[in-house]
Amino acid sequence: MDSSTDISARIDRLEGSSRRDRLLGVAVLALVFATAQAPGPPPATATTAPIVVSDATGATATLTARGLTVRDPAGRVRSFVGVDDANRPSVDLSDTTGVLRESMYLLNEFPVLRQFDGAGKRRVDLHLDSASNGELQFSDANEKLRLALFRTKGGDPQMGLYGTDEKLRAYFSTDDASPYLVMRDNAGTNRVYAGGYQDGSVGIAVRSAANVVQWKAP
């Protein structure tokens, strides 16, 4: 009878441990199904998780739903292509200090290429204006406009040179009749005019600071 009792106790323990083992097995199996991934390329179908590709140097390329970001081994963003935080399609290049130096994007749906100096100041701007005319602008370190190639509101092509005060000093333009070159002083007075006049004649004139013609030919 003692032997039977002993065997019965062993059986009870075995039954208990068997239930625990089975539960553990099922739990591990559930973990496997939840986390197991087949080796190979990432799924071609859409995923919400970023794809990060790295190398031994620490450089990374991260593909997200917004675009591709490339970081150097120091972790600084150097290149980006995609849709930026303001929802503009954009290509951005940043220098070794992380300062944005060159950007090509759509600003209010108008194409823009901008180049920035090391202080982040805009120095070159190539874009289409609000009338979709091309325009190239150079600015100095104070972000003052100094040179521009563009079309006027009347549609004439023009090159303008500007002083440090951003006021015109010289411009060269043309209408359908003839080209003309104008030079101004720092008071904004036309001092030299060469080319076609509004009456259709062509000539050259030099004016004083008081805007009086000093010499004109023919």
């Binding site: 032997s3 790295s54 390329a61 370190a141 030079m183 001092r191 030299v192």
Partner: protein, 207 residues
């Protein structure tokens, strides 16, 4: 009674061994295959497009690279576009941290460039001939003056239109680099026009 118990015991011990083996098998399988999200250590390729740690490369069906974006082999962030022969035709990049946009002909000669000067960080746009000699440039010069320059095949200036705060001026030079025509603001603050001979002597001036 003992025989019945012994039978139950034998069955239970067999089931326990099976369960334990199953448990350890599942555990080993889980450890072997479970992966936490982590960076990929190699390039990912989809068709002709490859994403590597340094950026993205797009190749055509012939395997010719047509576009790459990222950090180039010199460490410059860049966007490069190639023609069907694989020749580089357009590149936007930071050359020694200086922003640059370059366009190349089929021989990969630089023919147009929009950039900031490496010394002044002033903007500059130049057009070059097939010998890569600058023939036209608009820029803010080293003195901070905006300027249009026209150049001969020798790369020397033949004409330029510039302006300082005093006014604009136009200068035309001959092949010997002698100024032959000056029009606009003179250095003394006056405005006028003069014509010089090959020796640089004024032969006519107004007013």
């Amino acid at each position: 009674m003992d025989a019945a118990l012994a039978g139950r015991l034998t069955r239970l011990e067999r089931v326990a061994r099976l369960d334990r083996a199953f448990f350890f098998g599942a555990l080993v399988f889980g450890l072997a295959t479970a992966q936490a999200p982590a960076p990929l250590n190699g390039p990912v390729t989809v068709g002709g497009t490859t994403i590597a740690s340094t950026g993205i490369i797009v190749r055509n069906t012939a395997g010719v690279t047509r576009l790459d974006l990222g950090i180039d082999r010199n460490g410059y962030p860049s966007v490069d576009e190639y023609d069907t022969t694989g020749a580089l035709r357009q590149a936007m990049y930071l050359l020694h941290d200086s922003p640059t946009l370059r366009q190349f002909d089929a021989a990969e000669k630089k023919r147009a460039e929009l950039f900031l000067g490496s010394d002044t960080q002033n903007g500059e746009y130049v057009i070059l001939d097939a010998a890569q000699t600058v023939r036209l440039g608009v820029f803010i010069g080293a003195q901070g003056l905006p300027e249009l320059g026209l150049y001969g095949s020798d790369g020397k200036a033949r004409g330029y239109l510039a302006a300082d705060d005093g006014g604009g001026y136009l200068v035309m030079k001959d092949a010997n680099a002698t100024s032959r025509v000056d029009l606009g603001a003179f250095s003394g603050g006056t405005f006028g026009v003069d014509v010089r001979n090959a020796a640089g002597t004024v032969v006519w001036t107004k007013p």
